[in-house]
């Protein structure tokens, strides 16, 4: 005999067991109809594998296990399946559940079955599966699938196997009778379990109120090869509770939230052990069990070997049901059993007792009084809870406190209710609270999911609204800005800095795009050689306007910046602005170069544009320096933001440096362009110089020639020499004229610069003078030749007209000179006019030349 410990609390309700132990186990009569519930165990209900109308044999499987946490069900007798559907089942809720109804044929015809010759030949897993397939689940209480309990994890080392034979509930004697009559079967069943578990110690825990059973077991274990003990424990409810029995026999507590295997213990009900033996030895599935039928409501209280599915009425009748003396029908014991009101409810694998109680035996409870906190409940609670506190919290629905008082550790043994002097149905409160908490948790889970979804949706909507608002704001902002610009109001609308800057940024980029487009258009216009000057001018004007817009925007950005001092963003913008300005400058310079090369008009305009761009660039630069100064100031004053400010200042510095470099580059390009222009000028000057040199040579020659001619009239001995000289002179004049023409055209090309204009004018004046001089020389030469023989007299007349013509041309030249001067004063249209007048003069000069040539040729013919 092993040592017995104790557990806290416990009660001694009237046992009333002796009533049903007077008679041996009887076999319950075979009912006409068996209703076999598909769920008789904890876990998933099994699934019917027969159809209505099928003939089934005793022991035939009719319901398949669903998953691991389930067991199959078998036909308890042979017959025909008449229905598969809802039927009243033994369950505290009183709710119907699926049952297979079998109309028995009375044959009790077994399906072919045989036990295992040697179960030790099977592997552990196979043996456990075999037990499962026989439909075995815990028969003491809830119907926990035995296979699951036997299927231990690797971390579970079992040293103690406890066979629960305590049967502590009053009235019930099913296990008692089983042990009395079939002790050796139980020991055989333990054999199988021991083979599976290999525990070092086996304890059969049995309450000391069953001396006959104890004796039977002790006899049966004689000669047993295992370390097995029958330990009688003092009768005290609820010693049959698994955890309580473990504590009684080993003084070990199963940790909260753990299973007995965690402390090296496996506990099996004695009825289950018997069923395992029947399955192994005979191949019989779990189709019957022993049920105690007792209470004042039956005349012959007795234990019955009952087929699963037998309606209660059959059993009660067999025990001599006294209908008129039964006020309460209880399934299970009086402490934890539940009442039923339908006699058609069938026996299930876990039905161990039916009590037909008379009103005298179990009177209706008195109305509950208030808890007087007498502490009786606390003294008896086997789990050592504070039932009065639990009751208080359950009643006031303070579920968190109830849980803190370990509500969920309550085994609903009913000991507290039993002793409560105020008749408080404590267990009922706990069951309700547990359900409520579970529902609450479920609801919370559900609502959590719903809330998450809702929040996500809200966020989406919020984002959409914000986007819309931003867009709307941007639009409104633009409109407001336009208005403000119109009215030249420097005030900024009160907007958040980021939005404001974003708006400005957007505007700047839009305008930048506009400018770029215009520039492209302008470039195209320039590329077309035959474009009207006015079109180019128009394009230029548009470009200028766009640039002005850009400038304004940039200014807005600038004026905005100091108010909010968001240097980083501003610097970026300024950088962009500066870059843009330099790009524009570059493009304008390109355009200027193109214009210069193609001698197209609008150079002045372009120049102006460049100047404006330079201004823009410089203003951008100024903005940079402003911004950097501002930031520096901010950083110096705002110590808290020293670091970011310093960073900003650095950035500004870099930006300014970049801007400067760009500007320098632009300036270099400008100067390059200017240099190119200067080079042209130098070329021109060179050519002019050459020209003037040639002219002076011609002059000199002319002088040399004219002197002998002047001496000829006196001698008249060299007329033949005079003629060729005149021809040469003429040729030279023509050459000079051509050169002059060329110089004019060159001059036209380079007429962009005002200084150049001056120079050109001066050159032109000089050339005119030289031309005049040449003409004069020529006239002098003619006069000299006129004084020669008579034939020369006609020539003289003609030469007079020519002279006249030349005079006219010279006058025109004078006019052209005047026009040029005027152009100088009026600037822009001057070049054009000059060009026109010079062309005219050239034409007239050409005409005069032609006339002179004709005259000369006629002279030659003579």
């Amino acid at each position: 005999m092993g040592k017995v410990f104790t557990f806290h609390g416990g009660i001694h309700p009237p046992e009333n067991k002796h009533r049903s132990t007077q008679l041996p186990i009887a076999t319950a009569p075979l009912p006409k109809l068996l209703h076999i519930p598909l769920q008789q165990h904890i876990g998933a209900a099994s699934k019917a594998c027969v159809k209505v109308g099928d003939k089934v044999l005793k022991g035939q499987r009719i319901g398949d296990a669903q998953g691991d946490f389930s067991v199959p069900v078998h036909a308890s007798s042979s017959g025909i399946v008449t229905a598969i559907g809802n039927h009243a089942v033994p369950h505290p809720s009183g709710m119907p559940a699926t049952c297979i109804s079998i109309e028995t044929d009375g044959q009790e015809q077994w399906i072919a079955h045989s036990g295992l010759a040697d179960f030790t030949a099977l592997s552990t897993a196979e043996l456990i599966d075999y037990i499962r397939d026989r439909g075995i689940c815990g028969m003491g209480g809830a119907g926990f699938p035995t296979a699951v309990k036997l299927h231990l994890g690797d971390h579970h080392i079992i040293n103690t196997l406890i066979i629960n034979a305590a049967e502590c509930e009053p009235y019930i004697s099913a296990d008692d009778l089983l042990m009395r009559e079939r002790a050796e079967h139980i020991i055989a069943g333990i054999d199988v379990l021991q083979h599976l578990i290999k525990a070092s110690h086996i304890i059969i825990g049995i309450e000391d109120n069953k001396p006959q059973a104890i004796r039977a077991l002790e006899t049966a274990i004689v000669g047993c090869r295992y370390n097995i003990d029958v330990v009688s424990v003092p009768t005290k409810y609820p010693s049959g509770g698994e955890k309580q029995l473990i504590q009684l026999l080993t003084n070990v507590e199963v940790p909260h939230g753990g299973i007995p295997a965690d402390v090296g213990i496996v506990c099996q009900n004695v009825g289950t052990v018997y069923a395992i033996h029947r399955a192994i030895a005979y191949g019989e599935s779990l189709i019957s069990r022993i049920v105690t039928v007792t209470g004042d409501g039956v005349s012959k209280p007795q234990n019955f070997e009952t087929l699963i599915g037998t309606p209660f009425c059959t059993l009660l009748e067999a025990a001599g049901h006294l209908q008129n003396n039964t006020s309460r029908l209880i399934v299970g014991g009086p402490m934890m059993g539940y009442t039923i009101d339908d006699l058609e409810i069938p026996v299930s694998k876990t039905t161990n007792c039916i009590i037909a109680a008379s009103p005298r035996e179990m009177p209706a409870p008195d109305p509950a009084l208030a808890c007087i906190r007498c502490g009786q409940c606390e003294q008896v609670c086997p789990v050592q809870l504070l039932p009065q506190q639990l009751h208080w919290y359950a009643k006031s629905q303070e579920y968190d406190k109830a849980q803190q008082h370990n509500l969920f550790d309550c085994i609903e043994c009913g000991a507290c209710s039993f002793v409560c002097p105020s008749n408080i149905p404590l267990v009922q409160y706990y069951r309700h609270a547990k359900t409520a908490i579970k529902e609450e948790a479920q609801d919370k889970r559900k609502s959590d999911i719903a809330r998450e979804r809702f929040e996500a949706k809200q966020m989406r909507e919020q984002r959409a609204i914000e986007e819309k608002a931003t867009k709307r704001k941007a639009r409104a902002e633009q409109a407001a800005k336009a208005q403000a610009e119109k009215q030249k109001v420097a005030q900024q609308p009160p907007l958040d800095p980021v939005g404001q800057q974003q708006l400005l940024k957007q505007q700047v980029s839009a305008e930048k795009l506009n400018v770029e487009q215009l520039q492209q258009q302008f470039a195209v216009l320039q590329a077309q050689s035959n474009t009207e000057a006015s079109a180019i001018q128009l394009g230029d004007l548009q470009l200028k306007k766009a640039q002005l817009n850009l400038q304004r925007t940039e200014q807005a950005l600038l004026s905005y910046q100091p108010a909010d001092c968001a240097p980083d963003i501003d610097i970026k913008k300024l950088k962009v602005a500066a870059a843009m300005a330099s790009t524009k400058l570059k493009k304008a310079q390109q355009a200027l170069k193109n214009a210069q090369e193609k001698s197209q008009p609008g150079i002045e305009l372009l120049t102006t544009t460049i100047l404006a761009l330079e201004k823009t660039a410089s203003s951008a630069n100024a903005a940079y320096s402003d911004a950097s100064n501002h930031c520096l100031a901010t950083s110096s004053t705002n110590l808290a933001s020293t670091e970011p400010a310093t960073g900003a200042a650095k950035k500004l510095k870099i930006a300014v440096a970049i801007a400067r470099t760009k500007l320098k580059r632009a300036q270099a390009q400008l100067s390059k362009a200017t240099a190119e222009g200067t080079k042209n000028l130098a070329d021109l000057a060179q050519s002019v110089t050459d020209l003037s040199a040639k002219l002076s040579t011609a002059e000199a020659d002319f002088k040399v020639i004219s002197e002998p001619i002047q001496t000829q009239p006196a001698s008249d001995s060299h007329p033949s020499r005079d003629q060729p000289d005149l021809k040469t002179l003429k040729t030279m004049a023509a050459i000079a004229r051509t050169k002059l023409k060329k110089a004019h055209s060159r001059l036209e090309k380079l007429s962009a610069e005002e200084q150049q204009d001056h120079q050109l004018l001066a050159e032109i004046t000089r050339l005119e003078e030289k031309v005049l001089l040449t003409q004069a020389s020529y006239l002098q030469a003619k006069d000299a030749s006129a004084s020669q023989p008579d034939a020369a007299q006609n020539k003289a007349a003609k030469q007079a007209s020519l002279e006249e013509h030349l005079q006219k041309t010279l006058t025109l030249f004078d006019r052209a000179q005047q026009a040029l001067k005027k152009a100088e004063a009026n600037k822009s249209p001057a070049v054009q006019k000059m060009r026109i007048s010079i062309e005219k003069i050239s034409v007239k000069l050409a005409a005069a030349e032609h006339a002179l040539q004709q005259h000369n040729s006629s002279q030659d013919q003579e």
Binding site: P255, T339, P365, C374, G375
Partner: protein, 358 residues
């Protein structure tokens, strides 16, 4: 016969609240007998008076609260309160003192809070404390247990006692010139107001102290009653024994340090309301701490307070105040004295925290 559907368990111990109350009342009988035997009819008359009043007031209150009168009055709780109160009051307290105390106990301390089980304070102690504060002179009408003229043992006659309680105190004094000897201080009073004498000297000189044996006897009566209740598992030993042990320990320590100024433990344990309190007041379940550990803390607290007030306070006995003070602490004590439940390594305590949920 229709089958009733009802939640388990289906059997109950027949002991009901009324039975428990009745058992406690029975357990007070030795004490009542002792008081009557040594102190005269006063206590018995008070008990009857208080009981009648208490049941009447209880019935009226229940009626006003629209509850079934008979059902609730039958729980014997009012009767028990009345008896305990009457036992605590001086035997010759005028009827109106008793009436006031009962009214306060039943109506204010109990029914206004919602009746049995809802009262945060021990009703008897609330009533007692109120009259102690309100009528200090009347609350000292203790008689010397023995007649001091010679060694005869004589208590005031029943009729005279009735006159004392319901009629005029002066009348009785005039009728019986020796009456002064009937009113005397309790041993605790005597020891407290020693007029410069040492405890030892008081013991030797005081007539009251000479008769301290009567107090011992009455205390023994209460003790017997209490042990009976523990035996019947009406309450556990925790609260009464803790109170007695704590009080004995403290008084022993002080007595050991300075026996001239501090009373010995026996006096503390046997005089005043110590025994009555330990077995009938502190064990009142409604207003005390609930777990066994809690009861220990609760009773120890009362013992300490009792000793402090007795020794250094203004009132000769302090049980009522000590009990009421600890009543206030009971919910707090409950929070921190949960037992360790099965399968737990340590007990939960304090307020529920979110992690505790499983």
């Amino acid at each position: 016969m229709p089958h009733i559907r009802i939640s388990s368990p289906h059997v109950q111990r027949p002991t009901k609240t009324a039975d428990i109350m009745r058992l406690v009342i029975i357990a007070t009988l030795p004490g009542l007998f002792g008081m009557t035997f040594f102190f005269g009819w006063g206590t018995l008359i008070n008990v009857v008076l208080a009981s009648v009043m208490a049941i009447s007031l209880e019935a009226i209150c229940i009626k006003l609260r629209r509850r079934p009168v008979l059902f609730y009055v039958r729980d014997n709780s009012a009767l028990l309160t009345a008896i305990l109160l009457a036992l605590a009051l001086p035997p010759f307290a005028p009827w109106w003192v008793t009436a006031t105390a009962v009214f306060v106990a039943i109506v204010i301390a109990k029914q206004i809070y919602g009746g049995l089980g809802q009262n945060p304070f021990n009703p008897a102690m609330v009533g007692y404390a109120l009259v102690l504060i309100s009528f200090p002179v009347e609350m000292t009408r203790w008689t010397a247990p023995f007649d001091l003229n010679g060694n005869t043992w004589e208590v005031l006659g029943f009729a005279d006692t009735l006159t004392v309680i319901f009629g005029s105190w002066q009348e009785i004094i005039q009728a019986h010139p020796y009456i002064d000897s009937f009113t005397s201080a309790t041993p605790l009073d005597t020891l407290k107001h020693r007029n410069g004498l040492t405890v030892e000297e008081v013991w030797q000189s005081s007539e009251v102290m000479a008769n301290v044996g009567a107090w011992y006897a009455v205390s023994l009566c209460y003790f017997v009653g209490g042990i009976f209740l523990i035996y019947r598992k009406i309450y556990t030993w925790h609260a009464p024994l803790t109170l007695l042990i704590t009080l004995a320990l403290i008084s022993a320590i002080f007595f050991a340090i300075d026996p001239d100024n501090y009373a010995d433990p026996l006096i503390h344990l046997t005089t005043g309301a110590t025994m009555l309190g330990a077995f009938f007041i502190v064990t009142d379940p409604v207003s005390s701490a609930t777990s066994n550990r809690g009861k220990v803390v609760f009773a120890a607290g009362i013992a300490i307070l009792v000793y402090i007030v007795r020794t250094w306070g203004n009132y000769p006995d302090a049980l009522a105040f000590a009990v009421m003070l600890m009543n206030l602490c009971a919910p707090f004590i409950d929070q921190y004295t949960q037992p360790r439940s099965y399968g737990y390594k340590k007990p939960n305590s304090g307020q529920p925290s979110k992690e505790n949920h499983s």
